[in-house]
């Protein structure tokens, strides 16, 4: 997993907003959790933590890190203390997420179609058509239903009671949703009584929603029961567990490139009973590797002829190729304008102010304020290639200044945010740690579906603002309190 990074609080205050509450003032959503923490002895929490680890290792929920030595199959640390959102908080987020993803899909259709937003001068054309994520192969072609990013992961951070920001959009192949589901399963097993004291919005309908979304993307000729598959790079991919997990939950095959072939622009999978036609491919491999005939010729992961079959309308690809222009960090600053341009609405979720180093004025500001800013690669992910100014040494800042001057278009910068904290079980007991949130947004032609909550990632090191799993981050179960009374409903 890990496509983005959160960053934030400078070494000295402004103190981060703690979601549990400050001092004696416990926020309402956390009342029961705070009481539970109060009465549970540290030894019992520690025992539960160990039990959780055993549980995750037994189920085999690991992610793979290769080439760093040590055990390549690692567990992402799971923190047993939940992160809690009130229903009202979630409803606001949900409306903002839905709005944002609708705008991103409209932008993608426009960017590969009439390019009206470029003609109107809202986004500089060079940032789109000159972007290395722009796929000319997608021009003049409409995917079924006009949806490009069927599955999006939007990374949110919080700095105050009502201050949420979108840190990053993930419109290509966002991962982590299996952790959202498994974390809830683990909590149900570890703390049945604590969960029974809450009325939580369930998350377990995600696989069903995903299958509905994928089926809706099928070409018309496929009929009501299209054949859906998940295309994985294989067992060595860091998210392989998730690919299998989702396939299992949806009852579809997880295939590798070599399991598929294209004959006369129709995609088939090789089965023990002979070739079987495929209608929808939920692909978890990057554009570059999809089809050696269309993209990287050296790709062993893809399917030769897949793009031609796609363009012939014989198979759906979810997400569509070319979504990278919508979540590019250089495009990100323009998403609020997109929302106004396509939807005629004011953005419900704020962006973090972002400086594009290729612009002269922005670059001058960034170079003058490196000790205040977070600098990121426009194309980077996973928390690699970034610098958190307030935490960096003078030498590191000088190095980044030189890099920015050499290749300004590769870098963006943002103010360092004081990310909110949530109580977390650490080596010396319970302590606040910085978190972010990745909800998963599913889009069809007619509807946007979001399972309440998402994946909360937590920076386990004290003071750290980097939540990526590859950088020592962990995860938490995310609770959305469902206060709407339901007859006879069981709190779950």
């Amino acid at each position: 997993m890990s496509q983005s990074q959160s960053q934030g609080a400078p070494r000295t205050p402004p103190a981060a907003f703690d979601e549990l509450g400050q001092g004696a003032e416990i926020r309402a959503a956390y009342a029961a959790v705070a009481a539970w923490l109060e009465r549970t002895p540290p030894s019992e929490l520690e025992a539960k933590r160990a039990e959780a680890e055993l549980l995750f290792r037994r189920v085999g929920i690991t992610f793979a890190v290769y080439g760093e030595g040590g055990d390549p199959e690692r567990l992402i640390p799971f923190d047993i203390i939940p992160r809690v959102l009130a229903r009202s908080e979630w409803d606001r987020l949900s409306a903002g997420l839905s709005q944002r993803v609708r705008a991103l899909n409209a932008f993608l259709a426009d960017a590969y179609g009439k390019q009206e937003i470029l003609k109107a001068g809202v986004i500089p054309a060079s940032l789109v058509t000159g972007n290395e994520q722009f796929r000319p192969e997608m021009q003049g072609f409409q995917p079924p239903g006009g949806v490009y990013t069927h599955i999006a992961g939007i990374d949110l951070v919080r700095t105050g009671p009502d201050q949420f920001y979108v840190l990053e959009d993930n419109a290509r192949t966002p991962s982590g949703v299996s952790y959202m589901l498994e974390n809830r399963e683990a909590m149900l097993r570890l703390f049945p009584r604590l969960l029974a004291r809450h009325r939580l919005a369930p998350v377990n309908r995600y696989p069903e929603d995903l299958l509905t979304t994928l089926k809706a993307a099928a070409p018309d000729r496929a009929g009501p029961n299209p054949t859906v598959v998940i295309l994985t790079p294989g067992a060595f991919n860091s998210a392989y567990y998730e690919h299998c997990f989702l396939a299992d939950e949806m009852g579809v095959e997880v295939v590798e490139g070599a399991d598929l072939f294209v004959d006369e622009n129709v995609v088939f999978m090789r089965t023990t009973a002979g070739p079987r036609r495929v209608d929808v491919i939920y692909r978890r491999i990057d554009d570059d590797y999809l089809d050696p005939r269309a993209f990287r010729p050296d790709s062993m992961l893809g399917v030769p002829g897949l793009m031609a079959a796609y363009r012939a309308g014989n198979v759906a690809l979810c997400n569509a190729p070319g979504c990278g222009i919508a979540d590019d960090k250089a495009i990100y600053p323009f998403v609020p304008q997109m929302i106004r341009f396509y939807l005629g609405e004011d953005p419900k979720l704020a962006n973090v102010p972002t400086y594009l180093c290729e612009r002269d004025a922005d670059r001058a500001y960034v170079l003058d304020n490196l000790d205040q800013l977070v600098v990121k690669l426009a194309q980077g992910s996973g928390g690699y290639g970034m610098m958190i100014g307030p935490h960096a040494t003078a030498a590191e800042r000088a190095e980044f200044a030189a890099r920015i001057k050499a290749r300004p278009a590769d870098y963006i910068a943002q103010p360092t945010l004081a990310l909110s904290t949530v109580p977390t079980l650490c080596a010396n007991g319970v302590a606040p740690r910085h978190v972010d949130l990745r909800p998963f947004v599913l889009s069809t032609k007619d509807e946007v579906r979001i399972v309440p909550g998402g994946l909360t990632r937590v920076a386990l090191r004290e003071g750290s603002l980097v939540v990526n799993s590859s950088q020592g981050g962990g995860t938490k179960d995310t609770w959305v309190l469902d206060t709407d009374p339901q007859d006879g409903a069981v709190a779950c």
Binding site: R57, A235, V255, R270, T271, T272, A273
Partner: protein, 309 residues
């Protein structure tokens, strides 16, 4: 089912079975080596085991002497030996991982827990008998988990196919490496112990007594392990299972059949209607060599029809 999944399930069945068979072989060799020493005989148990497992050339490329310690290390731990117990578990787990969705949680748990424990297992010296027993138990647990929890669809059938084929191959190899002991007129004490060991290695010593109600005789041992359908590890039983499974896969695919079905039918018929007197008079070694070759060909044909088509 995806051809690649069938491939993984087939080899999952083969590798788990192979791990247990290597453990069985090591147990018997250990017992025989001890026995030979007591009787003052020149034992070549470790070398026989290397031949039976098909590891002899690879072993002697690395080691001078087929000592207990060397052979045990090679057949348990050595990552360069694909037939080693740890290698088999690693390969089984790799195959299981790539068809994770076709397995039940119990099957995966049995395999994954074994794997996690194996990485820290101690198996030399005094610990060896307990370790080998543990390996057999883990495979029994895996087979039991499959038997008790797996949906009876194609995935199940391909695991069964792999297990049965591997088992047939193992029984044939095991007998072949000891074929000289089953030639008529072998009666010395050492040989009697060897006969017991052969039967024990396929968990069939008690079965022998139940079936024949008589003292051990080479011809009957050969008959039990080759021709008797009621012994689950006999060649007849294993190839009967292979044929049955292939027929069921074909039935699930509207009768689609290929060369592997014909070959499995022929092989099973030869065993089913075979007579031990004829086999022995024509030469046990020749017969078993032919069986091992045909079993390998059948495996190739199964892969050609269902997996690499």
């Amino acid at each position: 089912m995806l051809s690649r999944s069938a491939d993984s399930l087939f080899w999952l069945g083969r590798y788990t079975e192979r791990a247990a068979n290597v453990a069985r072989g090591l147990s018997v060799a250990l017992r025989m080596a001890g026995l030979s020493a007591q009787l003052g005989a020149e034992g070549d148990e470790w070398r026989s085991l290397l031949i039976a497992t098909g590891c002899e050339p690879a072993f002697f490329a690395k080691h001078e002497e087929a000592s207990q310690e060397n052979v045990v290390d090679f057949l348990v731990r050595d990552p360069d030996n694909p037939t080693g117990i740890i290698s088999c578990f690693a390969a089984a787990r790799h195959n299981a991982r790539s068809v994770r969705t076709a397995l039940t949680v119990d099957m995966w748990g049995a395999l994954n827990d074994s794997w996690n424990a194996l990485r820290h297992a101690e198996f030399q010296g005094e610990r060896l008998p307990g370790f080998l027993e543990w390996v057999r138990e883990r495979v029994l647990l895996f087979n039991g988990a499959a038997q008790d929890t797996m949906l009876r669809g194609e995935p199940w059938l391909f695991v069964q196919l792999g297990t049965a084929l591997e088992r047939a191959d193992n029984t044939a190899r095991l007998l072949d490496v000891k074929h000289h002991l089953l030639a008529p007129a072998q009666q010395a004490t050492v040989e009697y112990a060897q006969w017991q060991a052969i039967l024990q290695s396929v968990s069939a010593l008690r079965a022998y007594h139940w079936v024949y109600k008589d003292r051990l005789e080479p011809a009957k041992i050969a008959e039990l392990l080759i021709l008797r359908p009621e012994l689950p590890r006999s060649l007849t039983a294993c190839h009967g299972r292979v044929l049955e499974v292939l027929d069921r896969i074909a039935a699930g695919q509207a009768g689609r059949r290929g060369e592997c079905h014909r070959m499995a039918g022929e092989l099973h018929a030869r065993l089913r209607y075979g007579r031990i007197e004829e086999i022995l008079s024509a030469g046990l070694h020749e017969y078993l060599t032919d069986m091992i070759m045909r079993t390998a060909e059948l495996g190739n044909e199964i892969e050609a029809f269902y997996i690499r088509a």
